[in-house]
């Protein structure tokens, strides 16, 4: 690795600016000096121009490179995370005193609904997708995603849908029936106005973005892996992304169907959920939770992949039990589809039917246990580097395991009937989701920030942030277990003083403030480090997977030459053998990436990828208009269908000259 350790401070351009901005055709940017991976300087320069995302504000809407889109996904999702977090603080303020009136019941219900929905649909899934879109192609050694334009389309859909959803709050049009949006409360009879319509249309719309991301991640991982990266050499994170994508593929249609049926109930008076006309309110719950439970694991699974990546790098060991970890991830994916009824233990279903789901819900402990003990076996006796990413991983261990254990408790039907819909459950799922998803995401942020920006984040601030988040989190959420057992139901906008819940609620509010401070430090750290962080070099952590084989930030084309892989830790191999094997013969004057077979990743074709184009943005705009119209009239469906179709044709229409080769 000639330039692995070369300090390269001039290169960090920050997360906001795409690599190659303002690069003139004549003057060579520094990072192509001397070529790379055996590719000459002039060729690399041409390749970089080919893969460049054009500069300028208007051109921003034409970008298709996965690094640009992935970065946008992550930043947008972090913005939504911050906003939804502020809503959480508002709720904690309201609950700090009994009969408080910081928020009235109307505002509280809207804030609660938007907080839950945004955290799930606008933060957690897109953040994981963003990480996957940014990292998975790099990790499998591809030049880009399989469908870069679809990728861009998905981003605009998410951006527009999420923004509209959030804007409903200041306009007082926000949904207020909870993120689970149970009928009949969300029916036209009990929720007039546009709030619920905003929920149903925007959720369906945003799911489109999740589905596009899932399809292209699957295809990218199955077909665009570097030659030699057979399935047993894929990084665990990539396995996790693959399983996540399949889960999205099979879970999201269920919520799309549910919200489409509700949309129809509200818009054209169908009777799916109207008990008086033969409908069934429980149908909504089945459909929603058949999506809703896998959803939790959709968020968790890639986080487990992040944890594995970090454990491997910071112990400098290959992971113990590769097959067992793959099994665990696939197993979690499998079991997650068989648990949804445990959200419905109290709806009066037959006991024997519920007993199936009790067994299945507890079953999730096995794959989770296998994961945790594989990590322990990997760390056992290793010289662990306790840098910030690893500290967040340790925090993840403590919180996630605690949340998992309460999860086993609520799997039990009789116990769940006591704590269901109480603050005990609020505590449980925040332990699982914040512990199992936000901690790994922050760990991943500290771990991959240098790769994405070329600069390190501050260790000192990172440690402070980790400590505060850990303490604040436990202070905020541990007392909620007790509150639930004392009888405090969820989703209450206030409580009476004589219930005796005041002190614990005050503790929780104090904890939430500390938690917010911890997050703010990381946010500030990231913002400051963009400019002031120490230069990172290609591989600051000595990581084993292919993303560390390119520059930081990655080249426009990701890799000057795509790698050929011989093991699961290609970068460590290279360092040991002082040899790197590559793919040659790809053209530099257009966007080409190698296509390989599904199982063994043997090369068999070359895919020519499209360059910058505004059509995905136009399509997304038209589709958004159609979905917005659906809030008001069913005819928007017909109109939007054909309008969107026209933009798709324009998008795919072959441009002359038709390629001949």
């Amino acid at each position: 690795m000639t330039d692995a350790t070369a300090p390269d401070g001039t290169r960090g351009r920050g997360a906001g600016g795409a690599r190659g901005h303002g690069a003139e055709p004549e003057g060579l940017p520094d990072y192509v000096r001397g070529g790379r991976d055996g590719l000459g300087e002039a060729e690399l320069a041409e390749l970089e121009r080919t893969w460049q995302s054009p500069p300028g504000f208007l051109a921003w809407f034409t970008h298709v490179n996965h690094t640009n889109i992935g970065r946008r996904f992550i930043i947008t999702s972090l913005v939504f995370f911050a906003l939804a977090g502020l809503l959480a603080l508002a709720m904690r303020l309201q609950l700090a005193q009994p009969l408080n009136d910081v928020l009235g019941p109307e505002a509280y219900n809207q804030v609660m609904t938007v907080h839950g929905t945004a955290m799930m649909f606008l933060f957690a899934i897109p953040a994981m997708e963003g990480a996957a879109i940014y990292l998975a192609p790099l990790m499998v050694g591809a030049r880009d995603m399989a469908f870069p334009r679809l990728n861009a389309f998905g981003y605009y859909v998410y951006l527009i849908g999420g923004t509209v959803f959030f804007l409903s709050l200041p306009f007082g049009l926000a949904p207020d029936a909870g993120w689970f949006n149970y009928v009949p409360l969300s029916s036209k009879e009990f929720s007039a106005g546009y709030g619920i319509d905003v929920w149903t249309t925007m959720i369906t719309f945003i799911e489109v973005s999740a589905l596009t991301a899932a399809v292209e991640l699957i295809v990218t991982i199955l077909k665009l892996r570097a030659p030699g990266m057979s399935l047993d050499r894929m990084p665990i994170f990539v396995w996790a992304v693959l399983v996540m994508s399949f889960m999205i593929l099979f879970a999201m249609p269920s919520v799309i169907v549910a919200s489409a049926l509700l949309m129809m109930d509200r818009l054209v008076d169908t009777a799916f959920f109207d008990a008086a006309l033969g409908g069934s309110p429980l149908l909504w719950q089945h459909l929603f939770w058949f999506f809703g439970h896998p959803e939790v694991y959709i968020i968790l699974v890639p986080a487990l992949g992040i944890v594995t990546s970090i454990v491997v790098t910071f112990t400098r060991r290959s992971v113990f039990g590769y097959a067992a970890l793959v099994l665990a991830i696939v197993g979690i994916g499998m079991v997650s589809f068989g648990l949804w009824v445990h959200h419905m233990y109290t709806t009066g279903l037959p006991l024997m039917g519920r007993s199936f789901f009790m067994a299945a819900s507890a079953m999730i402990a096995i794959p989770s246990g296998v994961q945790v003990y594989c990590w322990i076996a990997t760390m056992w006796g290793a010289r662990v580097r306790f840098a910030t990413p690893m500290l967040f991983v340790l925090g993840f261990f403590a919180i996630f395991i605690a949340g998992g254990l309460t999860g086993v408790m609520v799997a039990s039907v009789p116990f769940d009937r006591q704590v269901h819909d109480s603050y005990f459950v609020v505590a449980h799922f925040h332990y699982v989701l914040v512990g199992g998803s936000v901690f790994p995401l922050l760990a991943g942020l500290y771990y991959w920030f240098p790769k994405a920006t070329g600069r390190m984040m501050s260790e000192r601030a990172g440690r402070w942030s980790c400590g505060l988040v850990f303490v604040g989190f436990n202070l905020a959420f541990f007392p909620m277990h007790q509150l639930g057992l004392e009888g405090m139901p969820r989703r209450v906008y206030t409580y009476l003083p004589e219930t005796g819940w005041t002190l614990l609620n005050q503790l929780a509010t104090a904890g939430s403030a500390i938690l917010a401070l911890g997050f703010a430090i990381t946010l500030a750290n990231a913002a400051l480090s963009l400019r002031r962080g120490a230069p990172a070099g290609d591989d600051p952590w000595d990581g084993p997977t292919l993303e560390w084989a390119t520059t930081s930030p990655p080249l426009n084309c990701n890799f000057a030459r795509q790698a050929v892989v011989q093991s699961g830790n290609p970068v460590w191999d290279r360092r040991r053998a002082e040899v790197s094997a590559h793919v040659g013969g790809l053209r530099t004057d257009r966007r080409e990436t190698i296509v390989t077979t599904v199982l063994d990743a043997r090369p068999h074709a070359v895919q020519v990828l499209p360059g910058p184009t505004p059509w995905p943005f136009v399509s997304a705009l038209v589709a958004s208009a159609a979905f917005l119209g659906l809030i008001f009239t069913p005819w928007a469906y017909v109109l939007g269908f054909f309008a969107a179709f026209v933009t798709f044709v324009l998008w795919f229409w072959p441009r002359r000259p038709w390629r001949e080769d």
Partner: protein, 200 residues
């Protein structure tokens, strides 16, 4: 550090229409839509199981004639689609264009049958959950057929203009794949909507 070229991509195909990532992408889209159909049909059975009478008293199950015709016309249009693909593989542009156009025609015919049959439904969507799910499933498949038709119409235009060659026929291949799905998915819908209320 020694850099070695182990795989030479210069010789590899740039087209590979039958094995292109887009082929897999369409498969993904098909999986999503199949999941949607599965959800809708499961909802149908769920509502049926909750109901006291299914279809509700005084409502007849939808007539069999038109959907049964559709059941034959849609596979027939798949056949012409397959024939068009054969032509495309062999470089017979005329066969491709004719086949694709025939498919569009046949599917439009199916759409006409479907419309007649919808007009004959014994119940409106807002009268009972049975009517709601009947209309919803029918409407969903109707949309499928329409999108397959307009998509294939675009392919037909390109085919008549001579865009496709044996290498450059990805559009035909993926459109055919989606077409098979639209034709095939009618079978479970047909069985559930038209036979389940008669047999169960």
């Amino acid at each position: 550090m020694e850099h070695r070229i182990e795989v030479d991509a210069a010789e590899l195909s740039r087209f590979a229409p039958h094995d292109h990532p887009l082929w897999w992408g369409i498969l993904g889209a098909v999986a999503i839509e199949a999941a949607v159909v599965a959800n809708l049909l499961t909802s149908y059975f769920y509502l049926a199981a909750q109901a006291e009478a299914w279809p509700p008293d005084g409502v007849d199950p939808p007539a069999l004639l038109w959907p049964t015709l559709v059941l034959f016309v849609l596979p027939l249009s798949s056949l012409t689609m397959w024939w068009a693909g054969k032509g495309s593989d062999a470089g017979r542009r005329r066969q491709l264009a004719l086949g694709v156009t025939a498919s569009v025609g046949l599917a439009s015919l199916a759409l006409v049958f479907r419309s007649i049959q919808i007009a004959e439904f014994d119940i409106r969507w807002d009268e009972h959950a049975y009517g709601s799910i009947l209309w919803a499933v029918t409407g969903f498949h109707y949309t499928h057929v329409v999108s397959a038709i307009v998509g294939t119409a675009v392919v037909a235009v390109l085919a008549w203009r001579g865009y496709f060659t044996p290498e450059r026929q990805l559009g035909v291949v993926v459109d055919t794949l989606y077409w098979y799905f639209v034709a095939g998915v009618f079978l479970p819908i047909y069985l559930v909507l038209y036979w389940a209320p008669r047999l169960l």
